[in-house]
């Protein structure tokens, strides 16, 4: 059965040592993670630098928003073809303004969906966690099989963990 172990550290260097220790003990890179209450410089704990595809979301959103607004502005004018001052039914300049706003709105909405998705939220089944992480403690969390439990605990104890929690 798999268990989640959390080591709490006050010093970023100790947390980085724990991450290195876990790697050296043969645990897979993706099986452990570092939890902090604030952003740290990328790679500060020797962690795996996450890759993302966030920038595809606003592009996709913009295409959807543009298409929907093109349809809406065209269809509403054609549905009630009132000729004003001998001008064409489709008023391009007015359409562009609405299309611009709706394209941007859709891009923003899809970006937000992208941020939430790429952050892997909502996370309804969080593993070991401690509220002190949002108070300045640094948590190193690892999911291990029962047989590797002591090996992981030993790494945390050796690197100066303030507390080790097993869930």
């Amino acid at each position: 059965m798999s268990k989640s172990i959390l080591g709490l550290f006050l010093d970023p260097n100790s947390a980085a040592d724990a991450m290195d220790g876990l790697k050296e003990s043969g645990f897979e890179q993706g099986s452990f993670d570092v939890l902090t209450g604030t952003p740290y410089p990328e790679g500060a704990f020797g962690e795996h630098v996450p890759q993302h595809r966030l920038f595809r979301f606003p592009a996709f959103g913009a295409i959807i928003g543009f298409s929907a607004s093109l349809f809406l502005t065209t269809a509403t004018q054609l549905a009630y073809p009132l000729i004003t001052g001998g001008k064409p039914i489709l008023s391009i300049f007015a359409m562009l303004i609405i299309m611009y706003e709706m394209t941007m709105l859709s891009a923003v909405i899809f970006s937000v969906i992208g941020i939430i998705f790429e952050s892997r939220l909502p996370n309804i089944n969080p593993s070991a966690y401690d509220p002190r992480i949002t108070e300045g403690y640094i948590g190193v969390v690892i999911s291990v099989e029962d047989k590797d439990l002591n090996k992981a605990k030993a790494v945390f104890e050796k690197t100066g963990s303030e507390e080790v929690k097993v869930v």
Partner: protein, 460 residues
């Protein structure tokens, strides 16, 4: 950043959550008073619906008066959020940290307030829906997309939705802090909103990259909103003083001037009210005043350009209007007051560091700017309609009734009330930004001097 004090994350949480997890002594009294004024205002709104727009000073030919002035004013204030939050985030300005959340909230609440004014102004409020939604399907009438009065709600709606989502994304890490520090129902509420945030590198990376991405997307929306509001006037060819091609950038820069001033007002109140002296420091007011000096001067340039463009055509009605605005009583008094409060008094004050770092002086000068900016909108909207023109047989000068003045007062009470209620549920200063600042700061010894430094990560 010389005034900066090194603080722990625990201290940051305890101080910046003092308005959310505890209740300051003044909070219930102030909320009760504001609630009373807000309810009276809502009551008056229903009185207006019952008796009609006759309770206002609006009369032929001035049908756009104080309500529309106040609508433009609040849309202007809303430009604080993106100006401060997005631009400073994109440029990674260190002093943005305590300012961004307040600016974003101010954007949302002032937009919500601005949206109320066309509803009040319409008299029969429910009829607004005919402009925005298709009605009477049997006749097949759809909204007139060629009208700026339709473009306006679309632009404001986009800005409001975008700003709210932007605020929510930046709130998630702070919601996790609240989740970790509350119990019972409140914990449940924050747990749902925090969506299981843990603070791993992937989530922090998305906060940083996502914040920059949303800033970049919100900036063009920010520019478009007040441009479209300006077209409510500028595309009207029949009113002198309205039909101007310079209105879009002029309105945008004016909005930034009033919006950033409103942020200064709010920052001072936050510092005094919640005693956040360690986080909202004189150096932040100093930076905001420097920014305001530049913005105000650009705005003054546009003010004179607008005047010059109007006069350069030697069009008799335009000249007559400007003469009325600047030389005829009571407009001349308002024009003088507008220039004095919008620029002549505050900007020379901000040239002195002693003023820029004096929070009381910054507070009062920012209030002054917004008096001037409200008057600016009034002077743009009303004189053009009020000037006596041929073939207009019912003509009289517009004077707002006490009803309209109260609704203006109501709007300030309403925004303040919303802010105070927000402060009880969510932190007004972003906690994680403050903590990040601690991680990225140090001091370097150069010769014999210890120099405080801020590190910045290189973008790959």
């Amino acid at each position: 950043m010389q005034q900066r004090k090194s603080v722990t994350q625990e201290y940051t949480n305890s101080v910046l959550l003092n308005g959310t997890l505890e209740t300051p002594k003044w909070w219930p009294y102030l909320v009760s008073i504001l609630l009373f004024f807000v309810l009276v205002g809502i009551g008056l709104f229903f009185v207006q619906i019952y008796f009609g727009l006759g309770v206002t000073g609006l009369s032929r030919p001035v049908y756009w008066g104080l309500y529309i002035t106040t609508f433009v004013f609040w849309v202007g204030i809303s430009h604080a959020g993106i100006m401060i939050s997005a631009i400073l985030r994109l440029t990674q300005a260190e002093w943005r940290r305590p300012v961004t959340r307040a600016a974003e909230i101010l954007t949302i609440f002032s937009l919500l307030t601005a949206l109320v004014f066309p509803l009040i102004h319409a008299g029969r409020t429910w009829r607004i829906i005919y402009w925005l939604l298709p009605y009477d399907f049997s006749r097949g009438i759809w909204p007139n997309i060629r009208s700026p009065l339709f473009m306006d709600p679309i632009a404001i709606g986009t800005y409001l939705t975008g700003s709210t989502l932007f605020l929510f994304i930046a709130l998630i890490p702070d919601l996790a802090v609240l989740r970790d520090r509350t119990t019972g129902l409140r914990k449940g509420f924050y747990t749902i909103l925090a969506m299981g945030w843990r603070g791993n590198p992937r989530q922090w990376k998305m906060q940083v990259v996502g914040g920059i991405l949303l800033s970049a997307l919100m900036l063009p929306i920010f520019v478009s909103v007040h441009s479209i509001v300006s077209w409510d006037f500028a595309v009207t060819i029949g009113v002198e003083g309205w039909h101007s091609t310079i209105f879009a950038p002029y309105f945008v820069i004016g909005a930034v001037h009033s919006g950033v001033s409103a942020v200064v007002t709010m920052m001072a109140l936050m510092r005094w009210g919640w005693k956040w002296n360690d986080f909202i420091r004189p150096e932040h007011f100093d930076a905001l005043a420097r920014l305001l000096t530049v913005v105000a001067t650009a705005w003054l340039g546009f003010t004179f350009l607008e005047l010059i463009f109007a006069l350069y055509g030697l069009d008799a009605p335009e000249i007559a209007l400007r003469e009325m605005q600047i030389f005829q009583y009571p407009w001349n008094m308002l024009f003088l007051l507008f220039l004095l409060t919008g620029y002549i008094i505050p900007v020379p004050m901000w040239l002195f560091k002693r003023v820029r770092t004096n929070i009381a002086l910054m507070f009062w000068s920012s209030i002054m700017v917004n008096i001037g900016m409200w008057l600016e909108r009034f002077l743009i909207i009303v004189p053009g309609l009020a000037r006596k023109t041929p073939f207009v047989f019912t003509w009289e000068a517009y004077s707002p009734s006490w009803f309209e003045w109260y609704i203006l007062f109501w709007s300030f009470c309403w925004v303040t009330l919303l802010m105070l209620l927000f402060s009880k549920v969510f932190p007004l200063v972003p906690l994680f930004e403050q903590k990040e600042s601690e991680v990225f700061s140090d001091s370097v010894k150069i010769g014999r001097a210890n120099v405080p430094t801020i590190f910045r990560e290189e973008e790959e």
